[in-house]
Symmetry: C2
């Protein structure tokens, strides 16, 4: 496997990653590339503290997916999960809007205890990956506090008009089921963060930098908001490949399409190309968008057309091959 | 039920409580007395913070037992418990010496979230009792931080001699399975604590104050260590009844017998009488210790002899009747 790619023995691949879409691409990459030559730089903007626990949803989704432990139906949390702690919490009238399975809770207990003991988020992420038998190097983009905050438009409490206010990301994504309009997104604390150890080196030293098919606004942008990361990726533009999270004008999962439109972007592969044109030389789009290839290339990006919908078996691996090669396989 | 006692309508009973023994006596009391006229003032010296969560073992044992939700085999934690979170924690190499069931975790999540939101331990205890349908008023002795610390004698790491050092209570009780000698017990922070709202009033206003058959040294003494509580109980000596946790020279559960001996007390009903003589006018002892009644009374306490081993059905209620009456029923 180690020789089954065009880079020879130590071809490093670095992936900027959100949650589900990135995790699926990573499962493809480990099928065509040695896992320990792959680094995932993961969004922490949707982390939260709840019930005293530090929860890192994207880090866990990437780890659980690569471990083959993810719940395949939900796409988050662990397979075979039970919900006893939540049942007690509900009985007591506690906050149950953010579902935490019993197995999953063990991860949050572990992370919280280790952080309390002085470990960094990155050290803990590595320990959790090791515990789940994952060889991909999983790095939070920063060990520091960065929190995505979303300005949402709620129906007014009196039913008359609307009520616009800023909430923590998960209050938008989970508590509101991302079903309300968004007028702004902000990465609280980002300016004061530093890249986690290894992040800039993984970008600078990779043969291929990949922008995963994650939500550009709330998964990739918070990664780029850590000072130094955007510049590091821009410096690798020629070797950077983005995978469009938009297929035929829609997000495969989550609110990326509506969010792009609401924030003044175009919910299409062309909109994605404009979003990433300064960062990546190549955009991978789905065959469903083949008709937009010319418009994508007009943004200054090379366009690679292949299957990108990773719901079906084999697609993640073939997409991963295309991403590594920078051309359709 | 409300009239089925000698006090008439509002006969308040206040119980100084540790964990299992106190909880069992309370289940007897609610059979012979209106639950909402009973106040339990509960030890918090064995509370701990673990994995970011605030855990209050004695408060939970009392609540779960009165709710009929306690695991009857273990005597702690919830019936029908599962251990999935612990399994994940173990897989990750986390600290698993303090077992936390999945159902039970919901209580700790709730308590931690409410404390983080600014609620007091007493407010949270009341909410948890309400959530479990418990009408007994359950008060922590203090809302402030009080931690029992135990000086233990471990085998030296090199196998030669011993190693004496002070550890948090649960590091003695659970992690060492209370199987090592104890040379001292200290209630860290006690001097700076205040009684929780309602504690002193519940002692002053009760027709009967009860010292439950809990460990005198690590369950009752930390309750008395909160400034004002010992004096409040002493002022009610005539109406205070203690139940001996020692039967025929042994503790029914836990290390009270060894601990008494190690710390210079006598592990007998006479030792218990000396321990409580200034606080309580009456000591309830088991029939097995009837031969010691005279020696008990020599300490200045009245002695009541009845069945006190609450493992068998009916004993908790008959013991409760004797405690309320201040005489064998």
């Amino acid at each position: 496997m180690r020789d089954a790619n065009r880079y020879g023995v130590r071809a490093m691949i670095t992936v900027l990653a959100g949650g589900v879409g990135a995790a699926r691409l990573l499962t493809g990459l480990v099928q065509v590339h040695p896992a320990d030559d792959i680094t995932a730089i993961v969004n922490v903007g949707d982390d939260l503290e709840l019930h005293g626990l530090h929860i890192s949803p994207d880090l866990d989704t990437v780890t659980y997916t690569l471990a083959g432990a993810i719940d395949p139906e939900r796409g988050w949390g662990l397979a075979g999960e039970t919900w006893q702690a939540m049942a007690t919490l509900g009985r007591l009238g506690g906050e149950t809007w953010f579902n935490l399975g019993d197995r999953d809770l063990g991860t949050h207990l572990y992370r919280t205890a280790r952080l309390d003991a002085g470990a960094t988020l990155g050290e803990v992420a590595a320990e959790i990956a090791h515990g789940f038998g994952v060889d991909v190097r999983i790095l939070p983009v920063t060990d520091d506090r960065l929190r995505t905050r979303v300005t949402v438009v709620d129906p007014a409490p009196d039913g008359d008009g609307t009520d616009t206010h800023e909430v923590a990301f998960q209050r938008y994504f989970v508590a509101r089921a991302h079903a309300v309009p968004v007028t702004a997104v902000r990465f609280d604390g980002a300016a004061a963060t530093r890249p986690a150890p290894g992040v800039l080196e993984a970008i600078a030293g990779a043969e291929r930098v990949v922008i995963a098919p994650s939500n550009p606004i709330v998964s990739i942008d918070p990664v780029l908001a850590v000072p130094g990361v955007r510049d590091a990726v821009t410096a690798r533009r020629d070797d950077t490949v983005a995978v469009s999270p938009i297929v035929a004008g829609a997000a495969l999962k989550g609110p990326a399409d509506r969010m792009l439109t609401e924030l003044g972007f175009e919910a299409s592969v062309v909109g994605i190309a404009r979003f990433y044109a300064e960062l990546a030389a190549t955009l991978v789009i789905d065959r469903a968008d083949a008709g937009s290839a010319e418009a994508v290339e007009a943004t200054g990006m090379r366009c690679v057309i292949t299957d990108t919908v990773m719901a079906e078996p084999g697609v993640a691996a073939s997409l991963a091959r295309a991403v590594v090669a920078g051309r359709a396989s």
